[in-house]
């Protein structure tokens, strides 16, 4: 192996600094959330305890963290399932040209780049004028989909652009119906990417703040709850909440990656070549 050029070491050092920049602050609040009962929002640490985590379980002066967590989780799952189903359908549709496909494509891109607060404001106004009540499971759900679906569709584009059509042709030549071709050939091949779409859908929804601001109604989702807390909570309890939600997100990622790993392992055990053209 040839010796590393000098730029390798410079960029390597830069990369490490970048990682410190990404992780440093989050680690800081991770450490500070273990402050003692007398501790404040900054260093130095005033003792070490689980006080603030215990405090999270108690009735909060503002709002209800666990209720909002439940709502965010449910909403995340709803958005996740919808995103996967709708993105796969739309991804399949875009493989062929259909009237209006150009308009729909640019609309999807627009959905990605239009500032979130506009979606929030517009949906809020419409519900208001129609006399409907805004609620996280209706207006909030729809608003979040305008953010997750474009990501889902873009991933599906990437998947289908690298998809070998000869597998489908082979299935059809052997007499498979359109549905059989989809269920037994296409779906197993794209399954690992669908897990990626699901991960995107869930976490984007779980963290979404701006699009839910005016559309969640009287019951807060977790990001809204945290936002509320930042304005009037001045104890490390908010750091404890931050640490917990971060750990929860990491747990979700771990579950998703474990699923991908298990699927791939099982697949290689069955010695099927399905999907080998993909990854």
């Amino acid at each position: 192996m040839e010796p590393r050029p000098r730029s390798f070491y410079i960029l390597g050092a830069f990369f490490v600094v970048f990682l410190l920049f990404l992780y440093g602050p989050i680690m800081t609040i991770g450490i500070l959330s273990f402050q003692g009962p007398q501790g404040g929002l900054t260093f130095p640490m005033n003792g070490v305890s689980l006080h603030w985590f215990r405090d999270l379980h108690q009735e909060q002066a503002v709002g209800d963290i666990w209720g909002s967590f439940g709502r965010s989780f449910t909403l995340g799952l709803m958005v996740m399932v919808t995103t996967v189903v709708v993105s796969v359908l739309a991804g399949m549709a875009f493989r062929k040209r259909f009237a209006g496909s150009g308009v729909l494509f640019y609309l999807t891109i627009a959905s990605l780049v239009i500032p979130s607060i506009l979606v929030s404001l517009g949906v809020g106004l419409i519900f208001n004028q129609l006399g409907l009540k805004v609620h996280w499971s209706t207006s909030g759900f729809g608003s979040q989909l305008t953010w997750t679906l474009p990501f889902g569709l873009l991933i599906m584009f990437a998947v289908f652009n690298r998809f070998d059509k000869s597998y489908e042709e082979a299935a059809r030549d052997q007499g498979a119906s359109a549905w059989q071709t989809f269920a037994h050939v296409v779906l197993p091949m794209i399954a690992p990417s669908l897990i990626g779409v699901a991960l995107f859908g869930f976490t984007l929804s779980y963290d979404e703040f701006a699009r839910t601001l005016l559309t969640a109604g009287s019951y807060n989702t977790l990001p809204l709850e945290i936002y509320g807390m930042t304005t009037n909570v001045t104890t490390p309890v908010i750091f404890a909440l931050g640490t917990l939600t971060t750990l929860f997100s990491l747990g979700i990622i771990a579950v998703f990656f474990l699923t991908v790993w298990v699927i791939q392992k099982r697949r290689s055990k069955q010695a099927s070549d399905a999907g080998s053209g993909l990854v």
Partner: protein
């Protein structure tokens, strides 16, 4: 595009059958695209239309009423605040863009060209994306113990003897706002640039070297032009996210600075929906113009 419809037609022999199957595949295409179209129509097109309509409405202190007047726009364009706030928005977008491009390019370059094993590439790349999955607001709050008057940065600088007094401009300033933007959005630059770098045929780099190009010449004449699509997509992401933001600016400036998003959210909190809508429409037009300019440099649909 060798589509399903054409291959269907080639296998079916009789003309009438071919026509019905052609019709049904078109129907299937529409049915498959329908859910996406319906969601976007209900939660994107109609709401934006509603904002456009309401931007001409009037408002009292407690309610809004239908009208067709230009008062909201007239007020916006006559107020010097509007111009300074828009200027501030562009400033944030430009500086954040420049920082995230430099960092994103360097990080993507390191991952794509200096890391040789695919496993390490994927591993280090995932390491960069993990913080992205945790809440934006939490990531913003996490800067406060870092940058505050008695924060880690100030105490470290004082103990190293770099400064005598805590720096006040670290938190609740333009500096902290831009720092948070770079922290939140640089990943949106890394991903597309990394993606285009991974597609560059490595033999091109060898050819450049064989022809006597220096490292810088290869970078400037080969790598950067081939990364242009990635840079453009990353730029669109970063610029639109920063221009539409209202929460980062509020948080990190301690409510001392304003951008267009904050102008809108302030109006909303005062229930001044028509005036918020008018500002929103102007923001929307600005964003669309910026994107239209950027799209002249790249065909997104070809790059996917």
């Amino acid at each position: 595009m060798t589509d399903l419809a054409s291959s269907d037609r080639s296998t079916t022999s009789t003309a009438p059958r071919a026509r019905t199957s052609g019709l049904s595949t078109r129907m299937i295409g529409w049915l498959q695209a329908a859910p996406l179209a319906i969601v976007l129509a209900c939660f994107l097109v109609l709401p934006i239309g509603m904002i456009a309509i309401v931007s001409f409405w009037g408002a009292t202190e407690f309610s809004i009423y239908p009208a067709f007047q230009f008062d909201n726009y007239r007020f916006l364009f006559s107020s010097p605040v509007t111009y300074s706030v828009f200027l501030n928005t562009f400033k944030y977008a430009a500086i954040t863009w420049a920082c995230s491009l430099l960092i994103g390019f360097a990080v993507a370059y390191f991952l794509a060209f200096h890391i040789r094993s695919l496993h390490w590439q994927i591993g280090l790349f995932l390491l960069c994306t993990i913080p992205f999955w945790t809440s934006n607001i939490i990531r913003m709050i996490s800067w406060i113990p870092f940058l505050g008057r008695n924060g880690i940065a100030n105490s470290a600088l004082i103990s190293w003897g770099v400064i005598d007094e805590p720096l006040d401009w670290l938190l609740f300033s333009d500096f902290s706002v831009i720092l948070a933007f770079v922290h939140l959005y640089t990943l949106f630059m890394v991903v597309p640039i990394f993606n285009s770098m991974m597609r560059i045929d490595r033999s091109l780099l060898e050819a450049a070297r064989d022809n006597g190009a220096s490292g810088w010449q290869t970078l400037w004449n080969v790598i950067i032009p081939l990364c242009k699509p990635g840079i453009m997509i990353g730029t669109i992401f970063v610029v639109t996210l920063v221009m539409g933001d209202f929460i980062t600016v509020r948080f990190m400036s301690g409510s001392q600075k304003a951008n267009v998003g904050r102008l809108i959210s302030n109006d909303i909190s005062l229930l001044q929906y028509p005036s918020a809508s008018a500002t929103a429409i102007i923001l929307l037009c600005t964003v669309l113009i910026v994107i239209a300019i950027l799209l002249r440099f790249v065909d997104i649909r070809k790059e996917l």
